[in-house]
């Protein structure tokens, strides 16, 4: 009996040792990634909080604590206020169009037809090409003199005259939104297709055969199946869109007269080009409370995945 206890005790300690060994092995495997992320994402994030409360600039290495002065100054700047409004408005309008076009294209792409693979790789080109490169192509297509869009438009009698897309405030805003939609809708569509392929095509089609009218289908298919998938796609897209600099920077540089300015371009102008690091950090941090609920929702969805 004493012997048996002894053996059991040995087993317990051995199991404990194996567990400890496995844990230390696991944590040491995690360490490089965690340390890298802590040093180059975590620390800079908090450093940016500090910068936003200081008068740090590119020229002077010594920064003074100035409290909320940067934020006050930033909110008094009319260009910033326009940039903030544009950031939100562009994201919302573009999001609506991406959802509509993406859903429409997804319903077409889930069908069975010949050449599906080729068609798919063509329609996702706007998303798969590097963003810088496609924005340059659009800049050329919307050129004030040689615009290909104008050439087609005037010859099809869709547009009158020769609009200067990137030179007039209203048109420039429309162009920036259109390029964002063009780039983003294939992403929405592909996310939807991925999600819908988990749902048998018959279910999507059966409702039609059963003579379910639009509202019934909307109630039983669109809302429970399509909407959550689209929601995840749009949340990701919102993060990408809110934080993207390249479309506005390369198309209009925020012009004409600041009409297409968004938070990222303003942060770059003030923080780097004008060298006011503190104020620039304050501007980009204004994005944080806007991004926070989006990121929170995304992480909640991802956590659900982990639980599976």
């Amino acid at each position: 009996m004493a012997n048996a206890e002894l053996v059991a005790g040995v087993q317990v300690t051995r199991r404990g040792a194996i567990l400890r060994q496995r844990l230390s092995f696991g944590y040491s495997l995690l360490a490089p990634a965690v340390i890298f992320m802590a040093v180059l994402v975590g620390a800079p994030f908090f450093f940016s909080l500090y910068l936003s409360l200081s008068d740090a600039s590119v020229g002077s290495p010594v920064a003074r604590y100035v409290g909320l002065q940067n934020f006050q100054a930033v909110f008094q700047d009319s260009v910033f206020r326009l940039a903030l409004r544009n950031s939100v408005v562009f994201t919302v309008i573009a999001g609506i169009f991406k959802a509509l076009l993406g859903t429409l294209m997804a319903f077409l792409l889930v069908q069975e037809f010949r050449g599906k693979k080729l068609v798919r790789s063509l329609v996702v080109l706007p998303w798969t090409l590097p963003i810088t490169i496609t924005v340059l192509a659009w800049r050329w297509m919307l050129d004030s003199q040689f615009s290909a869009v104008n050439w087609v438009g005037t010859h099809l009698h869709l547009i009158h005259g020769w609009p200067n897309w990137l030179g007039e405030p209203g048109l420039a805003v429309a162009s920036v939104i259109a390029v964002n939609v063009w780039r983003g809708f294939p992403f929405a569509a592909i996310v939807l297709v991925a999600g819908m392929s988990a749902v048998p095509l018959e279910i999507l089609d059966s409702a039609k055969v059963d003579g379910a009218n639009f509202f019934l289908r909307f109630h039983h298919i669109i809302v429970p199946i399509i909407a959550p998938i689209l929601f995840v796609g749009l949340l990701f897209d919102t993060v990408f869109t809110l934080s993207d600099l390249s479309i506005v920077y390369l198309l209009t540089s925020g012009g004409p007269e600041g009409f297409t300015e968004i938070l990222p371009t303003r942060a770059l102008e003030v923080g780097i080009q004008a060298g006011a690091l503190g104020r620039g950090a304050a501007i980009s941090l204004v994005l944080f409370p806007i991004l926070l609920p989006v990121v929170y929702l995304l992480l909640r969805m991802l956590r659900r995945r982990e639980a599976l």
């Binding site: 092995f25 495997l29 076009l101 080109l125 590097p130 963003i131 998938i229 934080s243 942060a267 690091l277």
Partner: protein, 299 residues
Amino acid sequence: MTGVEVLHGQASGAAATTRRLQTRDRRRRFLVYAGLAPFILIAVFPVYWMAITAFKTDSDLVNPAVFPFWFHQSPTVQHFTYLFQHTYYGNWLYNTMVIAVWVSVVTLAAAVPAGYALARLGLPGAENMGIGIFLGYLIPPILLFIPLSRVVSLSHLIETKWALVLVYPTFTIPYCTWLLSGFFKTVPAEIEEAAQVDGCGRLSALIRVVLPVSLAGILTAVIFAFTLSMQDFLYSLVYVAVSDQKPVPLGVATDLIRGDVYFWGSLMAGALLAGVPVAILYSFFLDQFISGITGAAIK
């Protein structure tokens, strides 16, 4: 009605049904193609316009009198030769490759062990740590580029391509860790246990048994380290201003414009040459990308 007639009637009825189904199917397919046509057009047209521009002579390019979407003088490769002879395009290609290789190395060195640990070792708090690492992917560069500019200048890498090798893993590591952890979950635990029974330690079981069967996942991670790096504009714009250190997207966007003059021919040539291979590569791996970021959240 005789039995034969009934049979006959059934057969013709069935044939009619088949025909009706066929017609309906053909109509459905026609509608799908017709519906997709405008999408294909708007997706492909800018790329077509880039290609036409890249191969047109300058005088053909700016001739307002002719139909712009075809050649009126014979196609030329002068814009491509100009890129390699009079700009740093060769250097940009080289820089892009060097950045891609080193970003992949750094990313794999961190993401492979982390993804494995999260997927397989049942660490307490693994779920939260995984989400914490993925959070890095959701903190966009626009929130980090100003504080990181201090880090980059402190590290004396500023103005070189190595600055980008340092910062790109901030978005490739979280993404690839997430992707690889999903991948490692699908590797059967038995083969690993068998290796351990055979006397392999945990680490050597990982290296000798798990990694070889995970090559597909690792390759996918490398592809994304590359394509995600190619999508960056902000970091390279802010940290690399020296012409011969730029990656292709930045070089094309900033160096091929003199004052207000855009050299559209060579701009489009340079854009096309770098963009098309990336697009092709990316479209092969698009499904993995989507399931990587959305995962079972949508299933």
